[in-house]
Symmetry: C2
């Protein structure tokens, strides 16, 4: 099928997009080849990465933001990348969207991706799904992630705008600084701003960002929201739109797209190498033997690793 | 130097251990070879992995636990693995221990490892430092980590006892379930138990664990602590000691040590492959060219990755 055929099917049949997404998630060659064909049609969407620790209310905030984006007459897709146990697998966001009655809105698409069992390949699969949603004609794509570890950092780097969400009382913003979020945030939100301590958290984050970026060309906005009643969410969407406009006016978008492509290609290489590793345990007597030597103190872990690597290079 | 020489130096000179740890952390061959030599002297320590989201008070709880371990006349080493920005790099725990006046106690050793820039190799380096502390004669080793992502999971798997720390009000324990902590916790602690909602959080975790492990041989204890005044910390140490005794009585320790060795060897392979990837960006025209093709929509990311992998296999 040509890209045109696939695009027509995506537009004509509501079930086509989730089906194709499943094929891509499962690394099914039919999905991957469709995505190859569609790739030329990507690059239209503005991708917002939404990151922050558990408990700050990211899902509620995204549900609120979706309402606001729809009020501005734009289509929006949400991809929730959730390092969940299979028990709850990203169900929260979907539930919130359903409660808002948006599940019947053809201009809102929500997809949850459970990360269990796909460590290492998570950023890669996320990037692929973002391309799919982009080609499917969503001008706004929100990607929710718990931003820690290599995957979290990679997923943030796959966005045009990185939105960092915090809440009062979670170590008063110190944790945001510890998690290295100063380095990646384009827009910072203190959600649950009706809770005590919100003002202190905002002030601390302002000082920290000013210290971290003393000479930056752009001041990172630090906003207060209350997702449950929607307070501050209009201002948040305006700040995201402002950042998008800034990317275009300063020629930053091209630079960022290059970074995105580089992160994606490296994530793809990492995923491929990880897939090789995942295959190793079952088919490699070399690995089992090496582990036994380590357990029996016959060989240090470093020497065991060296012997496996030698076997991998020269099987 | 033989293992005996190195061990004598470690015991005779207080500065020898931190120096050797630095060599190991920096992948300095002198450190790595010393560790190879020492490896036969490891396997005596009980390793406790301490994991939980930011903001639950892990550092304070560990400081309290260190006091309690010292009261039981045991030496203890603490390794804080902190996915920090360079701004705060794991300083919190060190500060707490210093406040307690334990910095002068030769039977307490605290080491912080910043994780920035060592993604992928973090679990591997952690395992190496644990071996060093084990060989240096610490019967109790506490490893603190923010438990998310592959590194978090790997670091937890490197422990004999995995202690999961939660606090009330962080999504009431639901987040622990989402983060997949049900699958790894041997001992669960609700810290800050003087705060409102602690009872609810404990009850929710109890039900969740009962659901997740309906037929488990061992009931996972769910304890309440208040690190600031030490409430519940004696019970926590007793629960850790109970788990250690259970490992020995049920023959579980051998099984776990095998798992640890396997995780460590795989982490070592991953670290080596990652190091290869880290080297790639600067010396590879192939990568730059592939990224350019992706940016210009001449090639899909998947095909670009395939071309790089082909170049890696056959340079």
């Amino acid at each position: 099928m040509t890209a045109q055929d696939i695009l027509e099917r995506l537009r004509g049949d509501r079930r086509a997009l989730p089906r194709l997404a499943t094929l891509v998630e499962n690394n099914d060659l039919r999905g991957l080849e469709a995505l190859d064909a569609l790739y030329g049609a990507t690059g239209q969407a503005h991708v917002v990465g939404i990151t922050g620790p558990p408990g700050v209310g990211k899902s509620s905030l995204i549900a609120s933001l979706v309402e606001r984006i729809r009020a501005s007459e734009r289509r929006v897709a949400v991809l929730a990348v959730d390092p969940s146990s299979p028990l709850t697998g990203g169900a929260v966001l979907g539930d919130r969207i359903r409660m808002m009655g948006r599940h019947a809105d053809p201009d809102v698409f929500v997809r949850s991706m459970a990360s269990r069992g796909r460590q290492g390949g998570l950023a890669w699969t996320t990037a692929s799904l973002v391309h799919l949603l982009d080609a499917a004609g969503f001008p706004f794509i929100l990607v929710e992630t718990v931003g820690t570890g290599q995957d979290g950092t990679d997923i943030a780097s796959l966005a045009d705008t990185v939105m960092v969400v915090q809440a009062p009382g979670l170590g008063d913003g110190v944790q945001a600084i510890k998690a290295g979020l100063l380095e990646v945030g384009d827009v910072v939100v203190v959600n649950k701003s009706d809770q005590p301590g919100a003002g202190d958290t905002i002030r601390l984050l302002r000082s920290a960002f000013a210290l971290a970026h003393p000479t930056t060309a752009r001041v990172v906005p630090i906003l207060a929201t209350t997702a449950v009643d929607g307070a501050g969410v209009a201002e948040l969407l305006a700040a995201i739109d402002d950042h998008a406009a800034w990317l275009d006016s300063e020629g930053e978008r091209t630079h960022r797209r290059e970074q995105r492509a580089r992160t994606e290609v490296l994530a793809g290489i990492r995923a491929a190498l990880d897939a090789k590793l995942q295959g190793l345990p079952h088919d490699s007597g070399a690995l089992r033997a090496a582990v036994a030597r380590v357990v029996n103190k016959e060989q240090s872990p470093r020497r065991a690793v060296a012997s496996i690597l030698a076997a991998l290079e020269d099987p």
